[in-house]
C-alpha cells in the first residue's frame, strides 16, 4: 500500500514496511507474458528438472521488481527511487513465502535532495537472504 514518508521521520537502522509475496506457477506465467521473458525454467517443470533445477524457479528480474514495489510503496507519490539493485544468490521456488525487506543505512542531503540509503533483500520461508541488494531514494522534506 502506498504511503507518505517524510525524510525527517526516517531513522538510520529503522526497518521499512515489508512486502510479502506467495508466488504461484500461474503468477510466474503471467509475469512471463507481461515481461516477455519466456525462458522455460520458469514454467516448464520437465525443462527445469533437465537443467538440474529442483523444479520451476522464480525469475530473478521478477524478484527485483518486487523490491522496486516495496520501495515505491514506501517512498510514496512524492518520493523517488533514485537507484536500486540486487544480486541473485539463491533460487526461490513457487509455493514458498518470500518477504521483501529493507533497513535504512544512511540519510543525507545532496544537491537539495533529501536522500536515504537502504539495504534491501528478499528472504525465503526459512529466513535465508536469497536476493540481497541496496537502494537510494529521495523523500519529500517537511522543511
Amino acid at each position: 500500500m502506498v504511503q507518505e514518508t517524510f525524510w525527517e521521520d526516517v531513522e538510520v537502522g529503522a526497518e521499512i514496511p515489508s512486502l510479502v509475496k506467495n508466488p504461484t506457477p500461474q503468477q510466474l506465467v503471467r509475469w512471463a507474458g507481461a515481461s516477455g521473458d519466456f525462458y522455460q525454467i520458469h514454467y516448464d517443470k520437465d525443462f527445469a528438472l533437465g537443467n538440474n533445477l529442483p523444479g520451476i524457479i522464480v525469475h530473478g528480474a521478477l524478484k527485483s521488481t518486487w523490491l522496486g514495489q516495496m520501495l515505491g510503496d514506501w517512498v510514496g507519490v512524492n518520493g523517488k527511487i533514485k537507484k536500486y539493485g540486487c544480486g541473485y544468490r539463491g533460487m526461490d521456488v513457487p509455493g514458498d513465502t518470500l518477504t521483501c525487506r529493507g533497513t535504512v543505512t544512511k540519510k543525507y542531503v545532496e544537491d537539495d535532495e533529501h536522500l536515504v540509503e537502504l539495504e534491501i533483500w528478499i528472504e525465503n520461508g526459512e529466513g535465508k537472504k536469497t536476493t540481497p541488494g541496496q537502494a537510494v531514494v529521495a523523500l519529500p522534506s517537511k522543511g
Binding site: A34, G60, L71, Y84
Partner: protein, 154 residues
C-alpha cells in the same frame, strides 16, 4: 593476462562499444498488465486521472518495467552476449538507476554496451562475468534510466 584466460583480445575489443538503438513505445495497457502480474495496485500505474493529479501526463511505468518489458527486445538492437567456451549461464543481478519518470505515451530508445568483462576462479571452476549496460532515452533525448545486468557464465 594469464595463460589459461578465456578472455581473448577479440572479446576485449567489444567492451565499451555501444549498440544500435531499439525504439519502442510505452503504452498504458502493458503497464497495467505488468502491475497486475506482480500484484502492484499502486494507482500511479493504473489510474490515469490519479496520475494526472500527481503531476504526470498519464500513468507512469513501474521501476522494473522500463528495463524488462518484452525482454530481450528492449536492449540495444545489435547487442549480443559474447560466445564463450562456457556452456552454463546465470543471471547474477540487476541494477537500475532512474533519472526521469517514464510515462505512457513516451517513446524510448535503448542502447546497450558490454561495460565490463572479467573472470574469476570460483567454486564451480572458471567463471566469466559480463556486465551489460543499457541506457534508455526518451523522445526528447533525455536519459531516463540506466540498467546494468550481470551475466555469469561457468
Amino acid at each position: 593476462m594469464s595463460e589459461d584466460s578465456i578472455i581473448t583480445e577479440e572479446m576485449r575489443q567489444v567492451v565499451g562499444v555501444e549498440s544500435e538503438p531499439s525504439i519502442y513505445e510505452i503504452e498504458k495497457e502493458p503497464i497495467r498488465r505488468w502491475a497486475e502480474a506482480i500484484g502492484d495496485s499502486n494507482p500511479l500505474y493504473h489510474d490515469e486521472e490519479y496520475a494526472k493529479k500527481c503531476g504526470y501526463d498519464s500513468i507512469i511505468a513501474p521501476p522494473g518495467f522500463v528495463a524488462q518489458y518484452a525482454f530481450p527486445v528492449k536492449i540495444g538492437k545489435s547487442f549480443r552476449r559474447l560466445e564463450t567456451p562456457l556452456k552454463r549461464n546465470l543471471n547474477g543481478g540487476n541494477d537500475y538507476e532512474f533519472f526521469k519518470p517514464v510515462q505512457a505515451g513516451d517513446t524510448l530508445s535503448a542502447t546497450t554496451k558490454l561495460a565490463e568483462l572479467y573472470e574469476r576462479e570460483g567454486r564451480l571452476g572458471k567463471m566469466l562475468f559480463q556486465i551489460a549496460e543499457t541506457t534508455f532515452k526518451n523522445q526528447n533525448g533525455e536519459v531516463v534510466a540506466r540498467a546494468r545486468y550481470t551475466g555469469i557464465s561457468y
